[in-house]
């Protein structure tokens, strides 16, 4: 691992590099904050501009976009209950209720600060533990993918507010939607009704935009009373106060960072489900789980710390093995290769200077996000002053533009609108959209993991043994069982309490 600290330092204090990173960070925050425009797209858009730059500053600019977008997604999640990125879905659960309670500034600052902490946590592991963790990540095969998905499905009971049965139905519906399109293993089209558009399955991003953004707009439209989304009451000294509140909840913070890291390093698992796991684990270990969803700090800390620690985690298999752990990391892989850098263990020895400048530079990028973020928060929070009718129009415009932008296909806009209406009724009748979103995200993963394991198991002459005997699988199975038992116990205790009352 050869690198020259002097070179790294001189690169990092280079004003040009700092300027590019600043641009990347702000661009990333904005891309993240607009529903539908994601970090993945942001990095892809800026990639051609790095052609003329040296690899280090080019990569740092893209890395800053990635970090910024993971934070940016929380802004609309908190202010208008519409996640800017998939990774910010869970931030809506408590972030928006906080805003409604008049604590928008606190929520935004919490998201900002824990994003930076999560980012730091991920980067530290990236710098010091890349190689050993990459080797562990390779133990993760098809059966583990399946068991992880099953484990994540048990979270649904924790996600459904109130009625667990309704939550499970909503989740089940999501899983069915995941079956639309080509069978991932045999290539046979299913439920495509002879259309090409459905061959690739229900497109996840426009569906999620529809499920979360449109019902929010419709609910605002139907609501009476106040003229804005939530109250705007600017206060002084919120930043310091928020830091203290976060420090009091350090356990949730660290736990969520670890979850993000672990899920991030698993190749193919993707950061999408990491935040779901982080949120539900925070809730599970809490002494007062019933407070989750009402607008508490923990509910923002968990997903936001997690999604930024995914940034570091997903780059471990990326840099060491050339296998991206998340969609934005996949674009970064492309960027590395276009710049003639071949990811792998050799990258660390041959291009040590570039890699270490990049990894350490991401710390600086996080600091820049903290700096710009704290300024931008003051601007963003003013969204709450905007009359409700404009917010409704803005949400709908952004939802349409965002779903069209993914691959400039009108069908995606249609897709978004259909699920917008579905989502509205799901919320209205108490089914909730979050379990359905989770079901949809997990559908392909569950199926692929299951079918590929079957194929390998059959070839090796023991399907059951293949599913149940691998060490990593056993860990996941135990977690799943524990999670299930715990949910039943929780329900039982809740039932008892209501009976006593």
């Amino acid at each position: 691992m050869g690198f020259d600290p002097g070179f790294v330092f001189s690169q990092l204090i280079n004003p040009m590099t700092l300027l590019l990173m600043s641009f990347g960070a702000i661009f990333g925050i904005i891309m993240g904050a607009i529903p539908g425009l994601t970090g993945t797209l942001g990095i892809a858009l800026l990639l051609p501009f790095t052609f003329g730059l040296d690899p280090t500053s080019g990569l740092l600019m893209l890395g800053a976009v990635y970090c910024g977008s993971e934070y940016g997604g929380s802004i609309p999640a908190i202010l208008i209950n519409t996640p800017g990125t998939n990774a910010a879905l869970c931030t809506t659960f408590d972030g928006h209720p906080m805003a409604k309670k008049g604590m928008a500034q606190e929520a935004l600052n919490t998201a900002l600060i824990v994003s930076i902490v999560g980012g730091f946590f991920g980067m530290i592991t990236l710098v010091f533990l890349s190689v050993p963790l990459a080797k562990i990540s390779m133990k993760f095969g098809a059966p583990e993918e399946f068991w992880l998905a099953i484990f994540a499905l048990t979270i649904i009971s924790g996600l459904s507010s109130g009625n667990v049965i309704k939550g499970v139905i909503s989740g089940f519906f999501g899983l069915i939607l995941g079956c639309v399109g080509m069978d991932p293993v045999t290539g046979v089209p299913r439920f495509t009704f002879g259309t090409l558009q459905l061959m690739g399955g229900v497109n996840i991003i426009p569906t999620l935009i529809g499920l979360f953004a449109i019902p929010q707009a419709l609910i605002l439209l139907c609501g009476k009373g106040q003229s804005s989304v939530a109250q705007f009451n600017p206060k002084k000294g919120v930043f310091i106060g928020t830091v203290i509140q976060i420090l009091k909840r350090w356990k949730v913070l660290i736990q969520s960072c670890v979850v993000g890291l672990i899920v991030g390093i698993m190749p193919g698992a993707g950061g999408n489900i990491a935040t779901f796991i982080a949120y539900s684990e925070a809730k599970r270990f809490s002494k007062k789980p019933e407070e989750y969803g009402t607008g508490i700090y923990e509910g923002v800390i968990a997903p936001e710390a997690c999604n930024n620690s995914v940034v570091g985690g997903s780059q471990i298999p990326l840099l060491t093995l050339g296998i991206p752990g998340s969609p934005p990391a996949a674009v970064l892989l492309g960027a590395l290769m276009v710049h003639g850098l071949q990811p792998g263990f050799k990258l660390f020895s041959q291009n040590g200077n570039i890699v270490f400048t990049y990894m350490i530079g991401l710390f600086v990028a996080n600091l820049l996000i903290l700096l710009y973020g704290s300024v931008l928060v003051r601007m963003f929070v003013r969204v709450l002053q905007v009359p409700r009718k404009f917010i409704i129009a803005a949400i709908i415009c952004l939802a349409i533009a965002g779903s069209y932008a993914i691959r400039t296909a009108p069908i995606d806009v249609f897709n978004m609108m259909v699920f917008g209406i579905v989502g509205y009724f799901l919320i209205k009748f108490g089914f909730g959209v979050a379990p359905m979103a989770l079901g949809l995200i997990l559908g392909k993963m569950t199926e692929e993991g299951f079918k590929l394991s079957l194929l390998i198991g059959q070839a090796k002459g023991g399907v059951v043994a293949y599913f149940f005997s691998r060490p990593a699988s056993i860990v996941l199975i135990c977690l799943t069982v524990a999670s299930l038992i715990y949910s039943f116990y929780q329900e039982h205790r809740k039932g008892k309490k209501t009976n006593e009352n």
């Binding site: 095969g141 991932p184 045999t186 558009q197 399955g201 190749p267 296998i323 290769m337 070839a459």
Partner: protein, 322 residues
């Protein structure tokens, strides 16, 4: 009624105007950016390949290339979009072989989608031959070891591919047909996942491409499917040298929708031809594990025709198509 007539007239006039305007002469072509479609997501092999084209074609073009992504259904979604695009020379796309020859053949009856003939080749750019790979700790030291095991215990040796009815799958089928060995195919979704599976020893071998091998840690190649030694892996024996007569490669190039004027194809082809001469371009391609091998529009068309016949024959003999 009068205003209705007026509207019809107006519309007719607008239509006429657009027709006139879109029929501009070659002298003005191109007067705006040319869209280059990628039928896969950002960051994938196609994307990297196209970004290099974008970077170096700039030197010879008066207008930039604008890359858009249309991922979905293993490329089918994007290529159908390409086939249906306006053939005015402002919309071109990257195509991969044998994918575009295979997909229309295996497509379920009644399912819409492009036909291979709807995509007019502009230029062939790079090749990526097939490769049989194992983990470096694998018990299979040579190609013979692997074939022997797969013959002795058919269906017990697992072989990763990047999906059903992909180039990798075709390569595996060809290999099985020529050797009589029988593998248990494990179709992962994409090359990245297959690489991860082989590195994690989840599968016994991987029927992929040299590009995957060059990106991989701790892999061992048992043979490459080129005619002679492959320029990027000169130390690796070809399958032919080892007595397995399989010659297979993926080829990437650029195509335009059917109906594009011949002179526009010529214009674009010449640009890519000039770009292909650039040393920097060639090295950039080699660095990402692709071997530059330029083909003119006509050569590429012949190649596609051959691939089509070959895929059809193979699938028919195995009972996969009518």
């Amino acid at each position: 009624m009068k205003s209705y007539c007026k509207t019809v007239f107006k519309l007719f006039f607008v239509g006429l105007l657009t027709m006139v305007m879109s029929n501009t002469t070659l002298a003005d072509y191109p007067d705006r950016a040319i869209t280059l479609l990628t039928a896969f997501g950002p960051g994938g092999g196609s994307d990297v390949s196209h970004r290099i084209v974008e970077k170096y074609a700039k030197n010879f073009m008066t207008q930039p290339l604008a890359i858009i992504y249309k991922p979905g259904a293993g490329g089918e979604f994007g290529w159908t979009e390409l086939a249906n695009a306006k053939p005015d020379g402002y919309f071109i796309g990257g195509i991969d072989l044998p994918h575009i020859a295979l997909q229309p053949i295996v497509r379920k009856k009644g399912q819409p989608g492009y036909q291979t003939e709807d995509l007019i080749p502009v230029a062939g750019l790079v090749i990526d031959p097939g490769m049989v790979m194992v983990h470096k700790d694998s018990q299979f030291k040579t190609l013979d070891d692997l074939i022997r095991q797969a013959k002795k215990n058919p269906g017990t040796v697992t072989a990763a591919t990047s999906g059903k009815f992909t180039g990798d799958h075709l390569f595996l089928m060809d290999f099985e047909a020529k050797t009589g060995a029988k593998f248990a195919q494990v179709p992962y979704s994409g090359g990245g996942k297959s690489i991860a599976a082989l590195m994690g020893k989840q599968v016994d071998c991987y029927f992929g491409s040299a590009n995957s091998f060059l990106r991989m840690e701790s892999g061992r190649s048992l043979g490459v499917s080129t005619e002679g030694r492959y320029e990027l892996t000169p130390d690796i024996k070809t399958l032919k040298e080892q007595g397995v007569n399989v010659v297979f490669m993926k080829r990437r190039g650029i195509a335009a929708p059917k109906g594009i004027p011949a002179e526009k194809i010529k214009y674009l082809q010449d640009i890519f031809a000039k770009m292909a001469q650039l040393k920097e371009y060639q090295n950039a391609k080699r660095k990402v594990g692709l071997s530059p091998d330029f083909m003119t529009s006509a050569q590429f068309a012949d190649y596609i025709k051959n691939e089509q016949d070959r895929a059809a024959k193979m699938l028919k003999s195995l009972g996969f198509s009518k």
